[in-house]
């Protein structure tokens, strides 16, 4: 009604302009700049910088420290993600079960989510205090007779790593429960009713109805958790000596990058190369999960991806 197509286009572009400009200036350019820096020997302390090709990357790939960080990050992420998704599936089934009729589902969920909102830096410092030599955990363990004498938990590689895994799990399982459960409640009940009429068992219904229909949600949880997990920093950095110790047990990619960044000369060229490798690794894995787990028949995500890609098959 007097609102022409041209006008609609004009306002559309006007309204998204701040986002686009903001993204170009503060999202895309920093990524480009990080890539560009990774091919130089730039330091914070000197204005001179040379293009050195792939030298940063060659040095990185020859460095055991780098591979340790990659392995440690993957290990910590996997060890906390598997119980996270397992417990989330279990709790979601229980919470939505018409047989069990669990009371106050909203309250349980809300409490389980609470740790996710707490300042991670404070959580790390809290566990640092709880597990310090004179801390409450030692008091409890010794007095209850589990330990003969107090021990230095955070100087033990296994304990330190397990603790990071536990804290990450503790902070994130509540969120995973909420998301998975939202996915489960969006599955039409009529499907389960039909299956029950056909005499399906609970396990069969879970495997044949719940899991396949939950796939988009599981992919979402999987990918967002992976992207976050590869950038893990606050907890492992602040839990021990701020170097990923003891014995690099909790050295993550981001700590490695930060150590290069904050080294005495501030090797930001070398630090960028860590960021670039992890960036590429994360993107490839995220896209890989999408590609391999997607529905073979065209889902909406699939269709939108196809629109983005040029058609190859017709050219042959």
């Amino acid at each position: 009604m007097g609102f022409s197509k041209v006008k609609k286009e004009y306002y559309g572009y006007l309204f998204i302009a701040p986002f686009v400009i903001g993204f170009l200036l503060f999202g895309l350019y920093p990524i480009y700049n990080t890539f560009a820096l990774s091919f130089t020997n730039t330091t914070i302390m000197s204005s001179k910088a040379e293009f050195i090709g792939f030298q940063n990357f060659e040095r990185l790939f020859a460095d055991d420290f780098f591979w340790t960080a990659i392995k440690t990050t993957w290990l910590i992420w996997l060890l906390n993600f598997i119980p996270q998704i397992g417990i989330a599936l279990l709790l979601s089934v229980w919470f939505t079960s018409t047989r069990l009729k669990i009371k106050a589902v909203g309250v349980w969920r809300a409490i389980f989510y609470l740790p996710n909102l707490l300042v991670p830096a404070a959580v790390a410092a809290l566990f640092f205090s709880l597990f310090s030599f004179y801390g409450p955990v030692n008091q409890f363990m010794v007095r209850a007779g589990f330990l003969e004498e107090a021990m230095h938990y955070l100087q033990n590689r296994t304990v330190a790593r397990s603790l990071v895994v536990f804290i990450q799990w503790w902070m994130w399982f509540g969120q995973t429960v909420i998301i998975v459960m939202a996915g489960m409640t969006s599955i039409p009940i009529s499907l389960y009713e039909a299956a029950m009429v056909d005499g399906a068992t609970a396990m069969q219904m879970f495997r044949r109805i719940t899991l396949p229909l939950l796939k988009p949600i599981l992919i979402y949880v999987f990918v967002t958790s992976l992207v976050g997990g590869m950038q893990m920093f606050d907890i492992p950095y602040l839990l021990t000596d701020s170097r990923g110790g003891p014995g690099n047990a909790i050295l993550t990619n981001n700590i490695h990058m930060y150590l290069k960044f904050s080294s005495s000369k501030g090797h930001i060229g070398a630090a960028s190369s860590v960021g670039v490798v992890v960036f590429i690794m994360t993107c490839i894995c995220a896209l890989g999960i999408f590609y391999f787990l997607r529905d073979k028949d065209s889902s909406s995500y699939d269709r939108s991806i196809r629109k983005l890609l040029p058609r190859k098959s017709t050219e042959r």
Binding site: M1, K5, F26, Y29, G106, A110, L118, V227, F279
Partner: protein
């Protein structure tokens, strides 16, 4: 057979509640110990565990301040950054999402897909390039470096888009147009007030994200007067506070309790908001 089914159900129920209670204890105990220990003196803490609060809160606060750590200023800094971040995130996310939902323009679908991809891009890994760029612009040690990137907040925009799509707004917009309202006016004066519940949910997430942010602030903010709470927290582990356990716990509690209060007030919005960001349609 039916009686059997009933007994089984009761057994399962007992088992499930037991498991839930164990998870509850694991979730709550560390937080409870933090709050309780903030009220206990260092001697009490050294003497043993307790789940009951004591009376040394004010004493701990005095010790906390006496060591040169300016908690009130850190609190004010965090609050300032979080409030501005919240306003910027909510306004620009809603604006961008509104354009996607209401207007037709070339490349709209592509732009919309692009935002989903952006949500998944590990932005923290470009921090080094971001830092060098900010130092060229003279914005290191300036809160602007923490706030400006939020103009293009992909996660916030995705959430706002889901929200606008869930409310039917086209009729309202058409009616306003017939009344002669201009497009900017429709967005600011008609849509924003109606979309308040969604904006509030988005705002809570933006506030918490900013309040909790350690990594970016740690890299970009250098002078101690500008430290936010998560940055002050890490100094609590230093030598000055080595034996002042009560004060350490209190310092941690000060950073954590405001969020717990917000959560207690708005948990309904927050829980439904998380689900909305993930479940499409």
């Amino acid at each position: 057979m039916f009686a059997n089914y009933k007994i089984n159900t009761i057994f399962m129920r007992v088992f499930v509640y037991a498991a839930l209670i164990i998870l509850l204890v694991v979730t709550i105990v560390p937080i409870w110990l933090l709050i309780v220990n903030a009220t206990r003196s260092t001697t009490e803490i050294q003497q043993g565990l307790s789940l009951l609060p004591s009376t040394h809160l004010i004493e701990n606060y005095k010790i906390l301040l006496s060591k040169g750590l300016n908690m009130p200023r850190g609190f004010a800094n965090s609050l300032f950054v979080a409030v501005v971040s919240t306003i910027v995130t909510v306004y620009f996310s809603m604006l961008t999402a509104y354009a996607i939902v209401v207007y037709e323009f070339k490349g709209k679908q592509l732009f919309s897909n692009f935002i989903i991809v952006l949500v998944l891009i590990p932005q923290q890994l470009s921090i080094v390039g971001f830092y060098q760029y900010m130092s060229k612009l003279g914005l290191v040690d300036n809160y602007a470096s923490l706030i400006l990137p939020l103009i293009a907040n992909a996660g916030g925009t995705f959430f706002a888009k889901q929200y606008f799509e869930s409310m039917l707004i086209q009729d309202l917009i058409d009616a306003a147009r017939i009344d002669g309202a201009n497009e900017l006016g429709i967005f600011h004066l008609i849509m924003m007030p109606i979309a308040m519940p969604g904006a509030a949910t988005l705002g809570i997430f933006a506030f918490v994200a900013s309040w909790n942010n350690f990594f970016n602030a740690f890299i970009l903010i250098t002078s101690i007067e500008k430290y936010t709470l998560p940055m002050l927290v890490q100094t609590l582990r230093g030598d000055v506070y080595r034996t002042e356990y009560g004060a350490i716990y209190l310092g941690l509690a000060i950073t954590v309790v405001p969020i717990i209060i917000i959560y207690a007030l708005f948990s309904r919005f927050i829980v439904s908001g998380i689900a909305m960001g993930a479940v499409k349609e």
